[in-house]
């Protein structure tokens, strides 16, 4: 068991190193930082001085080493665009995105899983069929369209909810949260719903498909034949066996949303990472882009590792593989 955990973490670290190298290469070769940082009147002497100051006279492998050490300290250099520390820019933006994504993911799981189970165990029920129809819409309509429609109705027409921004936030050290103020919570409603609608539909359809599959298995038939009540058959025996793909997909989805919430963030002018990234691309702000790449990768790899661990927690068969204990006994 411990061996498996160590191995997974080792894998994650290795992948991270590869990503760091890619980020470093972008840093190195996507335009000359000296060129980008100095204005056109700078002398050759200025250039050489900067080159030495940035460590660009060192061999590439040394530069990569420095890059990794700095990255580990959260030092990704200075933004070309506004000369601020990249890390503090990201620390400012990350909580907004994280909060938005988490709220919509929790919504998606809380609504999507029960709906999915309901649709699977009552396939002929009218409400279940309606839910499946609506979920088709949720899957096929892009989030920004839903966002715009929501803004038109609830902000422009009814004036109930703010059309943009995060509302008032409370600061905890470097972390900011909108969950603790009324205006912050109001501001979260529309962006998280427009982001969650796809997720809800997706989770629901996934759970339905998996449940239908599991309900056909022998161990479910045998559970019924032993007279176990429907409640236990559906939720204790069947749902648990559907959870693996749901966990996997949720992990991927969270990563996806953090990386690509930018459309929704743009529609709602949400001050998150997506907006930061859009601006970085427009200004060819390479340190920000490199840091963004690294951070998104860290998030994906962390999520993946968490998903692996959830697997281990849920499925005893995986725990045994490689741990050497137990085994078949006749």
């Amino acid at each position: 068991m411990l061996a498996i955990i160590v191995k997974r973490i080792g894998n994650a670290a290795l992948v991270m190193l590869v990503v760091a190298f890619i980020a470093f290469m972008i840093f190195q070769f996507l335009g000359d930082p000296v060129q980008l940082m100095l204005n056109s009147q700078a002398t050759q002497g200025d250039r050489d001085a900067l080159r030495i100051r940035l460590g660009l006279d060192q061999p590439v492998i040394m530069q990569f080493f420095t890059f990794v050490v700095r990255a580990l300290h959260g030092d990704f250099g200075v933004s070309f665009r506004n000369q601020r520390e990249v890390m503090s820019l990201i620390a400012e933006r990350f909580p907004a995105t994280f909060e938005l994504v988490m709220v919509s993911t929790v919504l998606a799981l809380l609504i999507g899983i029960p709906l999915g189970v309901f649709a699977a165990i009552n396939p002929k029920n009218l409400a279940a069929r309606m839910a499946r129809m609506v979920s088709m819409i949720g899957i096929s309509v892009p989030a920004f369209v839903i966002g715009i429609v929501l803004i038109l109705i609830f902000s422009v027409q009814l004036g109930w909810l703010p059309a943009f921004g995060r509302g008032e936030v409370v600061q905890f050290g470097t972390w900011s949260t909108g969950l603790l103020t009324p205006s912050g919570r109001l501001a979260l409603i529309m962006p998280s719903i427009s982001l969650a609608l796809f997720q809800i539909s997706f989770v629901m359809r996934l759970v339905t498909a998996e449940m239908l599959e599991v309900l056909r298995t022998d161990y479910i038939k045998f559970a019924r034949a032993r007279g176990l009540p429907d409640r236990s058959v559906h939720f204790r025996h069947a749902l648990k066996n559907c959870m693996m793909p749901v966990v996997t997909m949720t992990g991927m989805m969270i990563g996806d949303l953090i990386a690509f919430a930018l459309v929704t963030e743009t529609v709602f002018q949400w001050p998150g990472m997506g907006l930061l990234f859009v601006q970085a691309v427009m200004f060819i702000d390479i340190p920000v882009m490199a840091a963004y790449l690294m951070i998104v990768s860290v998030i994906f790899i962390t999520l993946n590792t968490i998903v692996d661990f959830v697997y281990l927690a849920v499925d005893p068969r995986l725990r045994q593989a490689g741990s050497g204990g137990g085994g078949h006994v006749r």
């Binding site: 032993r226 429907d230 236990s232």
Partner: protein, 339 residues
């Protein structure tokens, strides 16, 4: 709130299971397929009734109808099923659920897939026990250990904590049997309980079934296509062909003196059951499809004794010696045997 299982004060006379004229249908878009066409059979307390026949004969469907777990759109379209005198084929879903496990137990074919892979054997046993008996978790765990001991699983206490994948196939089938017995059923329907197992383990499982049947007085309906298993385990055997019983009687008599031409073919095709002077018989052809049942005796396209009457009129299941058989030309069959 669950409906109570059958009260125990019923007289213990009469069969545990009594099926009369059972008809099972599948409504499909192209019309209704009748898979079971009038099956009548009884199983006594402490008796093992074998049900044998080729693939598609309707053995499993008969078992599923008894457990009340026919897969939709399958439905019981006629006849009745009684357990200890009480009719169960028309019970509401809820009452049927209360009978499952506590009055009727079930064992399925594949022990590798019958157990939930994510729950320990103990969890599955304890849940099932507590579903049928008013016991605390600790008391149920004690019972679970007793059950595992009863089905021959060593170091039961330790085994409770383990997951199904930590058991071998034979051990898993023992767990399945323990689970089927958890609610102390009067009848166990075992559908191909040994088919998925190694030959060496098959014998252990059939011996276990016999012992349980003897010790507990449980009635067992043993569904299999394997005449060898029947010969070893069953007290009586019903031979099914195309949704009907074609012959039924005490196992020894049927194996030694099969009356129906189909039974003779079935037994003749098993080398171990054929004594040296007889020759191995093969039944040519295949069982008819449900949507193209021949008129008269369903076996006539494959029967060497078939005549015009066989092709037009269904032979009734009539007393013949120690059992019953459905064939127009039994006399000829006896003649063959006498020769």
């Amino acid at each position: 709130m669950r409906a109570a299982p059958l009260p125990n004060d019923r007289p213990d006379t009469g069969p545990v299971l009594d099926i009369r004229d059972l008809v099972v249908e599948f409504p499909t878009r192209r019309g209704v397929l009748t898979a079971i066409r009038g099956v009548s059979v009884t199983v006594e307390r402490g008796e093992i009734l074998g049900i044998v026949g080729e693939s598609g004969a309707g053995k499993s469907l008969t078992g599923a109808a008894v457990i009340g777990l026919l897969e939709p759109p399958g439905r019981i379209a006629g006849g009745e099923i009684r357990i200890r005198g009480r009719r169960i084929d028309n019970l509401p879903k809820r009452d049927m659920m209360a009978l499952r496990g506590s009055t009727i137990g079930a064992i399925f074919q594949d022990p590798l897939t019958s157990l939930n892979p994510l729950l320990t054997v103990g969890d599955q046993l304890i849940e099932t026990i507590r579903c049928h008996l008013p016991l605390s978790r600790a008391e149920a765990a004690m019972r679970a250990i007793d059950l595992l001991n009863e089905v021959g699983i060593p170091s039961a206490e330790l085994r409770l904590q383990q997951y199904p994948h930590q058991f071998s196939g034979g051990m898993r089938q023992r767990v399945v049997i323990a689970l089927a017995l958890a609610g102390e059923p009067d009848l166990v329907v075992a559908d191909e309980p040994t088919t998925a197992l190694d030959v060496s383990i098959q014998a252990q499982i059939t011996a276990l079934l016999k012992r349980i049947c003897r010790d507990r007085g449980t009635a067992v309906m043993l569904v299999t296509h394997d005449m060898g298993v029947i010969a070893e385990t069953a007290d009586r055997v019903a031979v099914m062909y195309a949704g009907r019983i074609v012959e039924i009687g005490p196992v020894d008599d049927i194996i030694r003196r099969p009356q129906h031409p189909y039974t003779r073919g079935l037994i003749g095709s098993i080398p171990s059951l054929v004594t040296s002077h007889e020759r191995l018989v093969q039944i040519d052809g295949a069982m008819p499809r449900l949507n193209s049942m021949p008129a008269g005796c369903a076996f006539h396209p494959r029967c060497v004794l078939a005549d015009t009457r066989c092709r037009s009129t269904l032979p009734p299941l009539l007393t013949n010696g120690s059992g019953l058989a459905a064939c127009w030309n039994l006399a000829a069959g006896n003649a063959v045997e006498a020769a």
